[in-house]
Amino acid sequence: MSDYVIETWELTKQYNGQAGCKNITLQVPRGSVFGFLGQNGAGKSTFVRTMLGLLHPTNGKAVMLGQPIGSVESRKKVGYLPELFRYPDWLTGQQLLEHHAEVCGLTHRESKSVIKNVVELVGMAGRERERIRGFSKGMQQRIGIACALLADPELIFLDEPTSALDPIGRKEVRELIARLRDQGKTVFLNSHLLSEMESVCNYVGIIHRSELVVQGDWRKLSTVQPQIELTVDKDSAGFSNELPSFVTESRLVRQGENRDTWLMTLDQDNRVPALLQQLIASGAGVHEVVRKQHSLEEVFLYWVQKKEGERHVADHQNHV
């Protein structure tokens, strides 16, 4: 069994040569919560819809759960909550789930207990026999999540799963995703709500202008730019003029009555002891050193801005 539930090689889906997703080479580890991050229109949903066979790729190839995408086998153990979740509003929640259970090949007896479980899981118990027509958007999203979980999927695509939910609903979905991860399922999460993804995702892929910028364990991605916050006496402020060359950037971030806090960017993660030795030797009064933990938003912005910078340089060179 492969360690990856999704593997793509230069997967491309473009519309008349524009937009969509382009040359996406991606690996999603089994049992991970993989956050696919990108701005609106970056190509996140196009990628998911291509993986699910709703769109036909214009180039490249991909396998999902060991099967080539587009094949029926690749979707056997997959759940999907679309971004534009729309369900037949003349059905009740229960009827919708029954029809989906039937398509998934569940027997009547199996579907009864499975439906009961998933309805409870998404907090819709007692409301499932109402018509979808009368559901709020949040309830529709919840029944959509229930639908995605019906066939005990190994891989679940959730495209903006909390877009219509209130703060309590969002928390519940985060808890649900964590529970799915604990059960060994893989969750592919599409979202631009980075603060929400931060707490549940362990792997991310960042897509910008249709192209994949970077992928991997997001906490490791954040160490590409190791930073520390250093609190020193005000009267040792002159130290900033004599910093070693491995400090690539330093700036004052807070000014206190007697102490200032500086943010320093290092060229490598293991430079902290050397920096401290040098500061103490130079007589600086060091009070606090805190390793800066980057938020997912900062990681995302770092990589997107880096990509944009590269693009501008390339554009400039093309003009020259």
Partner: protein
């Protein structure tokens, strides 16, 4: 495929168009029954009630005209229901993205198309049968001895099969249009095609009546473009032409058939539907949704 057939049934029953059509169809049958009832009353009070050859001719003319007219409008209602209920069967689900969660399942697209087709075709076939037998029952029971067209069991079965064939061909073509274009565009195209067939059928009958080959050819071409009218003509032939009445052919009028479609045309109609259905599967397999 069965879950898609089931959900198609549920959708048709749940949607207002089906309920309204059923109510309007009952109203139509009621009106037809009333007309037949008044006609029989009028006949009994007039010279039509006499047993002479003129009266027999007029009685026969009247009975086939009335039933032919009923069947024609019955077929139009069935056709409109077929168009309105099936032309958006795939397209509207793509437009609303309701199809996404179905196709993201381990469900081959051809099964989705065939599930929709069998669901719609069987419902409309059943509706067509109810309409056909409803009209015939009114003719036989309300019309009594004077207005009832004399038909045998095998004639009825053959005619019913042709009557039901029309909406099924329409559903086949609607599936094709629905899998390749939007609901509105598909609806417009299908109504125009049905109109061509509808008008072409009349033109062909007039062409034969006036021995005008141009008119006849226009009718034949329109039947090739869309063959539903030829099925209606085949239905009237099955029901009236071989009825136990030597004068029936002459007395069918505009809703009857003076130019019977050939067996080749019948085979063409069946192939037309099958090709349309096959193409709809092929087009839908390749389509991005």
């Amino acid at each position: 495929m069965w879950p898609i057939i089931k959900i198609t049934y549920r959708e048709m029953i749940s949607k207002r168009i089906f309920t309204i059509t059923l109510i309007m169809s009952l109203a139509f049958l009621l009106l037809f029954g009333l007309a037949t009832g008044y006609a029989i009353k009028e006949m009994k009070e007039s010279s039509f009630g006499n047993a002479g050859p003129d009266a027999l001719l007029q009685k026969n003319f009247f009975s086939t005209q009335l039933l032919g007219m009923g069947l024609y409008f019955g077929s139009v209602i069935t056709a409109l229901l077929a168009i309105l209920s099936s032309v958006g069967s795939i397209a509207s689900e793509i437009e609303s993205h309701q199809i996404d969660t179905w196709l993201a399942r381990a469900l081959p697209r051809y099964k989705y198309v065939l599930g929709k087709f069998f669901g719609l075709a069987s419902m409309l076939g059943l509706y067509g049968l109810l309409m056909f037998f409803g009209l015939l029952a009114i003719n036989q029971w309300v019309g009594g001895g004077a207005l009832a067209v004399q038909v045998g069991g095998d004639q009825i079965l053959k005619a019913a099969a042709f009557f039901v064939g029309m909406p099924i061909i329409l559903v086949c073509v609607a599936m094709l249009l629905s899998s390749m274009t939007t609901t509105v565009t598909g609806g417009i195209i299908l109504i125009i095609l049905y109109g061509i067939s509808f008008i072409g059928g009349f033109i062909e009958q007039l062409g034969v009546a006036f021995s005008n080959s141009s008119l006849t050819n226009i009718g034949i071409i329109s039947s090739l473009v869309f063959p539903t009218d030829s099925l209606f003509r085949q239905m009237t032939i099955s029901l009236f032409d071989t009825a136990d009445d030597p004068l029936s052919f002459a007395s069918q009028g505009i809703f009857g058939t003076t130019s019977p479609p050939s067996t080749t045309m019948l085979i063409y109609s069946i192939l037309y539907g099958l090709v349309a259905l096959g193409l709809s599967i092929r087009v839908f397999q390749k389509r991005d949704v």
